[in-house]
């Protein structure tokens, strides 16, 4: 039995093709926005880690940023805001691809992100290639406001060098001369250690040994045994997240806490105190934020964040919040005209941010010039002890703007 399927006639095919082409052409004349008379929304492309190790940080930055914009009336420079959210999974290999999605496909006005320095550098490249405004709410990689600095790139967090340098100054002021540094073998670790070396050298001290292990390995026993054999006067370390919890606990369990003082960049004890428990008590770190800052802006921000997000604010939330404030300041100055690039950049450069960490301005390389606090762990807080270095600016080595 043969089945005769009726093939459509040539005429029918051509008619159908013509009709669909015509409809497509007609549709392209429809305005993208039916609402007439309203200015287009400002598109903010949030590229942050919403899953993986840094998910908690990404979410805090996101919510604090939205809080800042909500406090500014929900509008930037008089225009409504549209968020395009992308999970970068802290995956450097996909960084460029993800950033391009936001810039080329979604055509965001501002690219905002991220936590992981490797991903951030990919974003820096994409932003430079496309001349898109980039705001970095965390990644501390020195190069972003150093060798790769650009007028369209701003950072509201810190450079890896800053907390290291501050702690180096503190150790030098104490008369310590022999130090040992420990971290992961990646950019953030090296930059933090180099900052410490510089600060420490100001008092004539020397970092005699640098122990690094591959990222993100967390087996520290071998290194702890080495530290015990070398017996330095002070150990400086840079770890964050799961690694920080484990290192502090292992350090205490190996009995080193009592015999060899441990200091570090603030991330060692930020967001990790509950997990670290007794092992972290009394640890000193330096960071551009602390608990117990007697600033009205800090108190109001913490209350507002707690209300909005249902959990306590941390340094990442502060950074996200300040990114929102910087955006608001810049766009208010140009009355929402994202096309007025030079005026926008100039306004942002001159902005003085009333941050929960204290007021700060931006250096010529667009990195915060801020106070670095010395903190000590008391129960579940990093209580501020003193200002380790006032108004510290990153040297922005290699930056053509500085």
């Amino acid at each position: 039995m043969t089945r005769r399927t009726r093939k459509p006639s040539r005429r029918a095919v051509l008619a159908g093709l013509g009709a669909s082409l015509g409809a497509g052409a007609a549709a392209s004349f429809l305005p993208a926005r039916i609402a007439i008379g309203q200015p287009a929304k400002i598109k903010l492309g949030l590229m942050l880690p919403y899953t993986g190790t840094y998910a908690a940080l990404g979410k805090n930055i996101d919510e604090a940023l939205r809080l800042a914009i909500a406090e500014a009336g929900g509008k930037l420079g008089g225009r409504e805001v549209e968020y395009v959210v992308l999970d970068d999974e802290s995956e450097p290999a996909k960084g460029a691809e993800n950033a391009n999605k936001l810039v080329a496909r979604d055509k965001v006005d501002f690219l905002i992100g991220t936590v992981h320095s490797g991903v951030a550098m990919a974003m820096v490249k994409v932003a430079t290639d496309n001349d898109t405004m980039l705001l970095i709410p965390n990644a501390g990689v020195d190069a972003a406001t150093g060798a790769a600095c650009a007028p369209n790139i701003f950072r509201t967090s810190f450079s890896n060098w800053q907390p290291g340098f501050a702690m180096g100054k503190v150790a030098a002021a104490r008369g310590q001369k022999r130090a040992l540094a420990v971290s992961w073998d990646y950019a953030a670790g090296h930059e933090s250690i180099n900052g410490f070396k510089e600060g420490f050298a100001s008092g004539g001290g020397k970092v005699e040994t640098e122990l690094v292990l591959p990222f993100p390995q967390v087996e520290f026993q071998a290194i702890l045994t080495q530290i015990a054999a070398i017996k330095p006067e002070v150990v400086y370390t840079f770890f964050a997240g799961g690694g920080a919890v484990k290192f502090v606990k292992d350090y205490a369990a190996a009995g080193l806490k009592a015999t060899v003082p441990l200091v570090g960049a603030g991330f060692l004890t930020d967001g990790t105190l509950e997990a670290q428990g007794e092992a972290a008590q009394g640890l000193e770190t330096t960071l551009h934020y602390a608990d117990g800052l007697d600033l009205p802006k800090d108190k109001s921000f913490r209350a507002a964040f707690r209300k909005a997000a249902g959990r306590d604010a941390d340094v990442y939330a502060v950074q996200g919040y300040d990114t929102g404030q910087l955006l608001a300041a810049g766009l208010a100055a140009v009355k929402g005209d994202t096309g007025a690039r030079q005026a926008l950049v100039a306004a942002m450069e001159k902005a003085e941010i009333d941050s929960p960490r204290g007021k700060f301005t931006l250096s010529k390389a667009h990195n915060p010039v801020q106070d670095l606090y010395l903190r000590r762990v008391e129960r579940l807080e990093n209580k501020v002890v003193s200002v380790a270095v006032k108004a510290l600016a990153d040297p922005a080595r290699g930056c053509k703007m500085a």
Binding site: T51, G52, T53, A55, A56, K59, D185, L211, V212, L213, P214, P216, Q217, V218, E219, Q221, A222, I223, L224, T225, Q226, I227, A228, A229, K231, G241, G242, A244, V245, K246, K249, D250, A253, A254, G255, L256, T259, V260, G271, T272, E274, A275, Q276, G277
Partner: protein
């Protein structure tokens, strides 16, 4: 006593302790891989599952031991459920299907973990009487809990060896690995054996996560690191061999530790270099069956 020698011996101790914990995780993997022929990429997720269970149950009932007592049967049940629902479909399939399914499981587990437990880093307190540290030198002490962990791993290694070599069940498992059809035609329900082996594998990985939780930290993605090293251990030791997994794990533990001390620049590679060297010498692994 010569300080150099003391620290060398301490590093050996570090390496052995690391190796023993690796063995605990890898033993489950080699059982599932060798006996059932299934490549289980989700093995690291079971390790993570154990750690998170230990954390949440310890918070709930306040006692680490109690949480272990509840968590172990719980993971066995979860293992059985997974086997019945998903893994049973894979027995006769190509390895590629297994990789696809278990990779999907990793993603599902990660999301579930994020939904149920959140993304923060957590710690589990070392149970009271094991909190002490034994001073080894004037600057360094060794945590008693790590010694306890090593002892537990050794005990389990012994138990597994006994099970596989000396019991009827072990004999059936070994036979089923060599020739599944023959065992079935002898009237033994091979499906039941597989169910048991799978549950055992899951429980071993989860238990490793549980007892390691006080010295590791509980954080997102913790399963992935240990998964890769476990596969290296299994490959070095020979697929399906518990003895091989034991030796392989110890080798890896020592290589990793001494690699960090003497060659920190290439420390990340030592494990893989070791694997390449072993495979060049013995392509089926140290105790693997050639051609299986």
């Amino acid at each position: 006593m010569d300080t150099g020698l003391v620290f060398f011996l301490i590093q050996v101790l570090n390496g052995v302790q690391l190796g023993l914990l690796l063995f605990l995780v890898a033993s489950g993997l080699t059982l599932i891989f060798g006996i059932m022929g299934i490549i289980n990429l989700a093995h690291g997720s079971f390790y993570m599952l154990g750690a998170y269970l230990a954390f949440s149950l310890a918070e709930l009932c306040g006692s680490f031991w109690l949480s272990l007592l509840i968590a172990v049967p719980l993971t066995v049940l979860i293992g059985l459920a997974l086997e019945a629902a998903l893994f049973r479909l894979l027995y006769t399939r190509d390895h590629l299907y297994q990789v696809l399914l278990t990779y999907g499981l990793i993603l599902v587990f990660e999301e579930l973990r994020s939904l149920i437990f959140g993304d923060d880093v957590h710690g589990v307190a070392v149970p009271g009487f094991l909190e002490a540290s034994i001073p080894l030198t004037d600057t360094l002490s060794y945590p008693v809990y790590r010694l306890f962990m090593s002892a537990v791993c050794l005990a389990i290694a012994g138990g597994l060896a006994l099970l596989i070599r000396r019991t009827r069940l072990g004999m059936t498992i070994r036979a089923g690995a060599v020739n599944r059809e023959m065992v079935q035609s002898l009237g033994i329900d091979i499906g039941l054996v597989y169910r048991f082996v799978f549950a055992l594998g899951v429980a071993l990985a989860a238990f490793a996560g549980m007892i390691a939780a006080p010295v590791a930290s509980v954080f997102p993605g913790m399963g992935n690191q240990i998964l890769i090293v476990s596969f290296v251990v299994v490959v070095i030791g020979g697929i399906g061999s518990i003895k091989g997994a034991f030796l392989g794990a110890l080798l890896i533990g020592l290589a990793d530790t001494f690699g960090q001390v003497y060659a920190p620049a290439i420390a990340g590679m030592t494990v893989y270099v070791l694997m390449a060297a072993v495979l060049l010498w013995r392509p089926a692994g140290l105790f693997g069956r050639a051609g299986s």
